[in-house]
Symmetry: C2
Subunit: 206 residues, 2 copies
């Protein structure tokens, strides 16, 4: 049932997803996408009704991939201790540092959006972000059962911010003056440091 035109569509989506993850919305040009996808420039307007429409579809795919991944994760966490669950959560947040799969690209795209949120993104976010936040908040609630919602939200955001700073600045951190090279072997170490600091921080909130 895959019509020939669907192949073009798929090639564009694939190339666009990778480029958006790598360079963000503004940093990715129509011409770069069609060059990578090896299709004609007008195809984007024909199939997606413009750059915005293409981005919306890429974003939808990213949301879908991430939601599936998170839901699978949520199932796992019910069976393990809160400490292990937190460690796993952090590891997943740091995953774009080493992995190149779809979920990592989705996280990268969302990282771009934290700076200059697109109108397209804001709309999708306000509709579909709640489940993510709920997962993180639920995880932290296992450590702080008596904390109010606002505090938990702040703690969750802080935790994600802690992780994303390493994902966003990986290249910068590797060079001088920091010199923090993050290869595959050090990811576990990094996740461990963040997790331990966080666990201890949650253990006794004055």
């Amino acid at each position: 049932m895959t019509r020939p035109s669907d192949i073009t569509r798929e090639r564009i989506l694939n190339a666009a997803e990778r480029l958006f993850a790598e360079r963000g919305y503004d940093g990715t040009s129509i011409r770069a996408i069609v060059a990578k996808a090896r299709v004609n420039q007008a195809a984007i307007n024909y199939h997606f009704d413009g750059k915005d429409g293409l981005y919306r579809d890429v974003l939808r795919g990213a949301f879908r991939a991430l939601t599936e991944d998170q839901l699978a994760h949520a199932e796992e966490t019910k069976a393990i201790s809160r400490e292990e669950a937190l460690h796993e959560f952090v590891r997943r947040q740091l995953r774009p540092l080493v992995a190149r799969d779809e979920v990592s690209r989705a996280l990268r795209i969302f990282n771009w959006e934290t700076v200059r949120p697109t109108a397209v993104f804001r709309k999708l976010m306000s509709e579909e972000a709640a489940p993510f936040m709920e997962l993180a908040v639920a995880l932290l609630r296992r450590f702080l059962p008596k904390a109010d919602q606002r505090t938990l939200v702040v703690a969750a955001l802080g935790l994600m911010g802690q992780c994303s700073v390493f994902v966003r600045n990986r290249e910068q951190l590797a060079g001088p003056p920091i010199g923090l090279a993050l290869d595959e072997t050090s990811i576990d170490w990094l996740a461990g440091v963040i997790t331990r600091l966080t666990i201890a921080g949650l253990a006794q909130p004055a």
Copy 2:
């Protein structure tokens, strides 16, 4: 000794600094700057040798303002407890949320750079960022005297990441689905939450 042309220079620098802080390098056009500064468009090339040159000068000013501020802060911290010093550090990181002074604008500009660092910025950073990092690391060393440098760097970066996520996403967080409005009164509360979580986290790193 202020020649008339220096007035033009100053007006451009002033307008550019505010616009760069608000919209970042790519988001700020020459035409927007000259409109705000009420000078001719060619003046930027005449006085600063192009947009890059102007940005370099703005960045230098931002570094200078921030360094002075941090050094003043460093003096204070020697006299107070490590807990108070940490709280003050966090408060300063969150300052752009409420303040509109030069230091806050400098922090905002640096926040933009965390995503797509300009070549101009990278060069300045590699030369002048070390002192900042040292200050934060020194602060955390008071909590973790036995930790190695790498762990301290990670902890410092994580702490700054925790703060910057609120500064960067302030508008997004205020709306649905998060609904975390950060007005002047809640900054102290936010700084308190982050500080307490961090202190406890540093208190007993497993």
